[in-house]
């Protein structure tokens, strides 16, 4: 899947990956790749500012820790983040149903 197609949904994808529990930046990138079956063609560098954007909006909270000599910022979904994720899921379901209905080949003239 091309980056342009992913861009509008990156925040929701990240929130979904964090639903299972806290993760640091690279673990989130790995989880996105794993859950998409490696089909997300996204510059991994775009995930870090997206995390900061979600943190700025109080949808995730970030804390620093040092693991194996590497400094890691671990992100946790907040209550507002869970609420936003539920909203994004509902929006996506509605959007995809509408697009599917329009894209589906017409039955043809009677």
């Amino acid at each position: 899947m091309k980056p342009d197609a992913v861009r509008g949904h990156l925040d929701g994808l990240i929130l979904a990956v964090l639903e299972d529990g806290p993760r640091h930046g690279y673990a989130i990138i790995e989880a996105l790749q794993a859950r998409s079956g490696g089909r997300l063609d996204l510059p991994t560098g775009t995930v870090y500012p997206a995390l900061r954007r979600l943190e700025r909006a109080a949808l995730v909270s970030g804390t620093w820790s040092t693991v194996g000599g590497r400094e890691r910022r671990t992100y946790t979904l907040t209550r507002a983040g869970r609420h936003a994720l539920a909203g994004q899921r509902a929006d996506w379901t509605e959007f995809s149903a509408v697009v599917d209905a329009v894209l589906r080949p017409a039955a043809g003239p009677a």
Binding site: P43, L54, R56
Partner: protein, 232 residues
């Protein structure tokens, strides 16, 4: 130093040069990226690549600086806007309160103020309240995810300039019109000296924050021209 870390370090350094904003926030973002790239290199090494190829793959996966920097700049700009808005929302009411306490308690002036001075004082009060209220609205706007930090931070910078120039200018005129029994060269009452010194500090802080906000907003607009950050 081996070539692989150099490749990653060079990419992070290029990112560093491309970004403007609050030093602590920038350092935090770059530290996260640096260690994230180290994780990616380790991951590629585990898959069998040598160190140099692993570093090259990690940098390639990360994406070019011109694609990632605008997104990071947007966040730094938002942080600067939040800082400036918070500063305005706190210091303008504090200044208003400090000067009003001097007036109410009669610590600053032994004679009642003239009508002109009273009118100017009310104008300063009104402008201070307006600046603080607008700053609060802009502060709340920094919590939005929508890609508008450049505009919000630019507006916050302009508000800071308006607040300092407006309140500062009116206060100067007000003090020139005020008649002090000791005359202009006489000793300044201690309470006025303390609040006046605090006001000077506030003027410097707000002016500095305004300049930073306007620069950061300009940096975000400049980054937008390279690659518009619509992710999210």
């Amino acid at each position: 130093m081996t070539a692989a870390p150099d490749l990653v370090a060079a990419h992070v350094a290029e990112l560093d040069r491309a970004l403007r904003g609050p030093a602590a926030a920038k350092r935090s973002m770059l530290t996260e990226v640096r260690h994230g790239l180290a994780d990616a290199v380790a991951d590629h090494r585990e898959r069998g690549l040598d160190e140099r190829r692993a570093a090259a793959a990690a940098v390639h996966d990360f994406g070019p600086v011109h694609a990632v920097a605008p997104l990071m700049q947007e966040e730094l700009t938002a942080r600067q806007g939040r800082r400036t808005a918070l500063l305005l929302a706190v210091v303008f009411p504090a200044e208003l309160l400090a000067w009003d306490v001097l007036w109410w308690t009669g610590h600053g002036w032994s004679q009642p103020p003239t009508t002109q001075v009273m009118a100017l004082a009310r104008a300063v009060d009104a402008l201070s309240v307006l600046v603080a209220a607008t700053a609060l609205v802009l502060l709340l706007a920094t919590f939005r995810r929508a890609p508008l930090p450049g505009r919000v931070t630019g507006a916050t910078g302009l508000l800071a300039v308006l607040g300092v120039a407006g309140c500062g200018g009116l206060s100067v005129v007000m003090n020139l019109l005020s008649s002090h029994p000791a005359g202009p060269a006489g000793p300044v009452p201690p309470a006025v000296g303390v609040v006046g010194a605090a006001t000077l500090v506030v003027v410097v802080l707000v002016t500095r924050s305004a300049v930073r906000a306007l620069r950061s907003a300009r940096a975000a607009r400049g980054s937008d021209q390279g690659a518009h950050p619509k992710v999210g």
